[in-house]
């Protein structure tokens, strides 16, 4: 994935900009802001609560000038307000803030001193190097560590030299922090095109006794700062016994500049253990512009299965038309996993001409190759309908089946009739099931679903009885107005099978468009069982879908009016309880007049009223005395 990276020197530039702003400091702040500052400083000088002073510090971070520094500096020794004061002092430009922080290091200790040193580091105050040098020797390891990292942030020659010396003598956590600071110096040098000096630091750290993570970081720097000469070290790192270093090599290989490293990676691929080679080939394939494709292809074709699988997968990213034939061979391999991996890659294989080549191979394809190529036509969505239609007459059912599925994936609306005919009048009965599946696949992806539904609906008339219901099922999946109306008509037809299928599908219809159709069928369907089914579908819509509660209550009211059985009447009450509303409560009260459900309606009204009261709704007028 391409992601624009903030440049390596980001941090340095960011910090340096704070120093640059010193020149602008007072003049750049508008007069209104200066007035604000005076008011803010008055708060700091007052006996205002800590919370007010804290917020003032935040404001001074934006509006404060040198005038604010003395008042802020007073807070550095306050455990509660020190961090707030540093929010401002860290960003107020100019020497005054630097000086205040430096001065504070003379009197503070412990955490407050650590915080102050951290701020000096953020400001990259070169004038504090001597102070930090002294603090490097502090008895408090947290203070010494903070000084080490701050020196690393400053990163000038003096700071670098101090850290180099400290690395020889520091121990424990301080030593780790010294290495962190020293690495920051190296990063800065590398960013400033002083790679040689950076390399020396990285190498020093690599050789030192330090936590592995510092070694990892130094190794990355040592590889990259050497430029092309770093390839040897990268390969050496690939061969490390340490998992962390091997992993580092995988990451660094991806970011290594230029094209020379790719050949080295290709050679390393042949030397590495299968487990490692499988990962190396993935790294190679992430270098899309310079990858040695032949090496990846070779790894895909022969050798350890794990490596082959990984290489086949890698070809999804870097393959082109040149690997098409080898992949087709692998796709017919006896090893089912490798064959499937090759098919997956073939489905996505990039490169101009791949589609055309596949189509060109179709006429001469024989044996297993033929259905494989047809599968690819489908999975790659290649427009090759004439070739697929030709395949429908093939003697091999596997070829015909593949062709039907590929048609399902690729056929346009204009050619949908091809598939409809395969369903309505299949040449071979054994192909009927696949043809239905293909027609469904094609139908549900048609951009113009109304036109698609119209095609399907028109086929119902000429279809044999058993196929009519299949078409209705597909229409149900397509959805839309035409499909809905076709189902409604079928539900009222004289054919019991159509009545059954259509009413069942309408009962499952998944949007509110079906509501009027279902309500109508609940009284007009040819048989009572279908009327009940329609009414239940209608009530289901009222239960399932989000809508204004007034509309829901109206649907429930309609349902109650047509419901002749207590089962459905009770279902309506359940809907009202599930979606409590004033309108629903009114309806539940009205329903108490229906003798068969009086008790249920009374209980439902009480339930709804209770839920409404919890929401703060006054229902006393509707439920007096309750």
């Amino acid at each position: 994935m391409h992601t624009t990276r903030p440049c390596l020197r980001t941090f340095t530039l960011f910090i340096a900009s704070i120093a640059t702003l010193a020149i602008l400091s007072v003049a750049a702040v508008p007069i209104s802001a200066a007035e604000t500052e005076a008011e803010l400083l008055a708060v700091l000088r007052s006996d205002a609560p800590g919370g007010e002073k804290a917020i003032v510090c935040k404001k001074l971070a934006i509006h404060g000038s040198n005038s604010a520094v003395p008042e802020l500096a007073k807070l550095l020794s306050d455990p509660k307000l020190s961090s707030w004061a540093r929010i401002a002092l860290e960003v107020i430009p100019g020497d005054d803030a630097d000086e205040a922080l430096r001065l504070a290091t003379q009197t503070l200790d412990g955490r407050l001193l650590v915080g102050t040193i951290n701020s000096i580091g953020v400001r990259q105050d070169a004038g504090a190097v001597e102070i930090l040098a002294a603090r490097l020797q502090d008895n408090d390891p947290d203070v010494a560590s903070a000084a080490a990292v701050a020196l690393g942030r400053i990163g000038n020659d003096a700071a670098t030299q101090l850290l180099q010396q400290a690395l020889q003598i520091a121990s424990g956590d301080v030593r780790n922090a010294v290495a962190e600071g020293y690495l920051l110096c190296a990063e800065r040098l590398h960013g400033d095109d002083k790679s040689g000096a950076a390399t020396e630091i990285y190498d020093e750290i690599r050789e030192a006794e330090l936590p592995m993570q510092r070694i990892v970081e130094a190794t990355r720097g040592a590889i990259l700062s050497r430029n092309e000469d770093g390839i040897a070290l990268l390969m050496e790192t690939f061969r490390s016994d340490d998992k962390k270093l091997f992993q580092l090599a995988l990451g660094t290989a991806r970011e290594f500049p230029g094209g020379e490293v790719d050949q080295a990676l290709a050679e390393e691929l042949t030397r590495a253990t299968p487990q490692r080679a499988a990962l190396i080939v993935q790294a190679m394939a992430d270098r899309t512009d310079t990858v040695v494709l032949d090496a990846v292809l070779q790894a895909a074709q022969t050798g350890d299965k794990q490596v082959r699988g990984s290489a086949i997968d890698a070809l999804k990213r870097v393959g082109d038309i040149s690997v098409l034939s080898p992949l087709l061979t692998i796709a017919l391999d006896q090893d089912a996993e490798l064959a499937q991996a090759a098919k997956d890659t073939l489905a996505e294989l990039p490169g101009e001409g791949v589609d055309a080549k596949i189509v060109a191979m179709l006429p001469d394809a024989r044996g297993d190759s033929y259905p494989l190529l047809i599968d690819l036509v489908g999975s790659r969505r290649i427009d090759a309908v004439p070739d697929l239609v030709r395949a429908l007459d093939h003697s091999d059912p596997a070829v015909r089946g593949a062709a039907l599925i590929a048609l399902g994936e690729t056929v346009s609306l204009e050619k949908l009739s091809l598939l409809i005919e395969q369903v309505v009048a299949p040449k071979r009965a054994e192909d009927a099931a696949i043809a239905r599946q293909a027609l469904k696949s094609a139908s549900v992806r048609m951009p113009d679903r109304e036109a698609c539904a119209a095609e399907l609906a028109s086929a119902i008339g000429r279809a044999p009885a058993t196929t009519k219901t299949v078409l209705l099922e597909i229409l149900s999946d397509v959805g839309g107005t035409t499909a809905l109306q076709t189902l409604a008509t079928s539900a009222k037809s004289s054919d019991p099978e159509l009545q059954d299928t259509a009413s069942r599908l309408l009962g499952k219809w998944n949007n509110l468009d079906a509501a009027p159709v279902l309500l109508d069928l609940s009284t007009t369907a040819p048989a009572e069982k279908y009327q009940v089914r329609a009414l239940r579908g209608y009530i289901g819509l009222a239960r399932k879908f989000s809508m204004p509660e007034r509309n829901r209550a109206e649907m429930c009211k309609q349902a109650l009016e047509v419901a002749s059985r207590t089962d459905e009447q009770k279902l309506v009450l359940e809907v009202l309880k599930l979606h409590p509303s004033v309108a629903g409560l009114k309806l539940a009260i009205v329903a108490q007049a229906i003798p068969a459900i009086k008790a249920d309606a009374t209980a439902a009204a009480a339930d709804i009223a209770q839920q409404l009261r919890k929401k703060g709704v006054d229902v006393s007028r509707l439920m007096p005395g309750a």
């Binding site: 971070a61 990355r220 996993e337």
Partner: protein, 436 residues
């Protein structure tokens, strides 16, 4: 028997990092695995040597969901949890122990003690946003890969340093921007990135409100025993304030910029870290916009270097669920949201493809992407560079919002051009002793 391994506050700082970390140096390498599913732990049993050993830091509501995505992964061994709240330590331990049918999940109060464990490869960071970047960078320096919830950073400086730290330390970082691994969002972004919509003119994000999420300083309440709630560690890098239990909910604590005033930032980050991130993906993860107008009529318009507009919309909009985005080009447009649905200017844009409409969740794909990248060392979809650029866009918008005027950002220097006030808002000091 409890595996509680919480330090008392009187104990000296953490045990020697140097010693434990160095102990891993000579460890023989475990057999790495490869991309195919069988080797990535998706099929069958996974050998212990091939598992990713994971610890959790700050697993609350959102983290609990993330945890539920990690635990079923066959190549994950979740071994430890850290939380400043005793109750939650116990709750999460129980979830993990119940999953594995043992009592082995260790608990910690100080996440640095968890990071000291050399057996842990990766961490799930789901603390409040105040902690995200500091914890992430501490974890990186301790040699851990991480899945880190969003918003990842509190300001521009943190965004830049985060990306730089992940690069320097060679760690795998996945921001909790799970929509990058959801098919319909990916498809919509692909249409934009690959020119299927023509030259992009506008990308729309919907941060769902751009108002303050700065907690400030609430009235003091008696501070609990640190064993119960370690307030000092809860505050962490945030400026000090007295204990108040209302702040124990991360949603009530600082998010994003935490600026002061009626138009404080923060809201942009809560959802912007998702929807702006998707817009960044749509523009092919190029550097963030260079110009940000103040909000007007519920819209904040930012402009990329090439003139494409990034529009933050505060209210209303398309009925596609939360986190909606819209990408407009000269020849077409696409909208997508958490409902899992897409709306396109033309069905032709689908090019015969079906795109799974699975909604804004699950995040399992994103977790899986992370775990695969831990093994292969590829950059995951929500990598630190991508997160950095998206967060900078949000932070810069916050600054324009706060200053209520246009600000102009230079992506080469990472400064606002001739704008001292805006530049001062790019960073914020961390409370002692924390540093990045």
């Amino acid at each position: 028997m409890s595996n509680e391994q919480v330090k008392s506050p009187t104990q000296t700082p953490r045990r020697g990092f140097l010693k434990t970390a160095a102990a891993t140096a000579g460890a023989a390498i475990a057999a790495p695995t490869i991309i195919p599913s069988s080797a990535l732990g998706l099929d069958g049993a996974v050998a212990p040597s091939e598992r990713v050993v994971v610890g959790g830091i700050g697993i609350g509501r959102r983290g609990g969901y993330d945890l539920s995505c990690f635990l079923p992964q066959k190549d994950v061994q979740f071994v430890a949890v850290c939380d400043v709240k005793q109750k939650r330590r116990g709750e999460v331990k129980k979830i993990v122990d119940d999953h594995y049918g043992n009592q082995k999940c260790a608990t910690y109060r100080d996440f640095r003690d968890l990071l000291d464990r050399s057996d842990i490869d990766a961490v799930l960071i789901a603390t409040g946003p105040n902690w995200h970047s500091t914890a992430a960078m501490t974890a990186a320096k301790a040699g851990k890969d991480m899945y880190c919830e969003k918003p990842v950073t509190k300001n521009i400086a943190q965004s830049l340093i985060l990306a730089e730290t992940m690069r320097r330390t060679g760690r795998v970082f996945q921001a909790g921007t799970q929509r990058r691994n959801l098919p319909h969002f990916a498809f919509a972004c692909e249409l934009a990135r690959t020119g299927k919509l023509g030259k992009l003119t506008k990308v729309y994000a919907h941060p769902m409100g751009m108002k303050a999420l700065m907690s400030g300083w609430l009235g003091p309440e008696p501070e609990p025993d640190p064993e119960v709630v370690d307030w000092d560690m809860y505050l962490g890098p945030a400026a000090w304030r007295p204990f108040n239990k209302k702040l124990l909910d991360g949603f009530n604590f600082e998010k994003g910029g935490g600026f002061v005033g009626a138009f404080s930032g923060g809201g942009v980050l809560e959802w912007g870290s998702h929807c702006v991130d998707l817009c960044q993906w749509a523009v092919d993860d190029c550097p963030p916009p260079v110009q940000y107008d103040p909000p007007k009529d519920g819209e904040l318009v930012a402009r990329y270097e090439n003139g494409t507009e990034l529009i933050f919309r505060e209210k209303g909009w398309i009925p596609l669920g939360s986190c909606p985005v819209r990408f407009e080009g000269e020849t077409g447009w696409v909208e997508a949201g958490d409902s899992g649905k897409m709306v396109l200017s033309s069905p032709e844009l689908l090019a015969g493809r079906e795109v799974a409409e699975i909604g804004g969740y699950p995040a399992t794909f994103h977790v899986r992407d992370f775990l695969d990248c831990v093994k292969t060392r590829r950059q995951p979809k929500g990598n630190a560079d991508a997160a950095c650029n998206a967060h900078i866009a949000c932070h810069a918008a916050n600054i324009a919002l706060y200053l209520d005027r246009q600000v102009n950002y230079d992506n080469s220097t990472h400064e606002f051009i001739n704008d001292e006030q805006a530049n001062r808002m790019r960073s914020e000091a961390l409370r002692e002793p924390w540093r990045l």
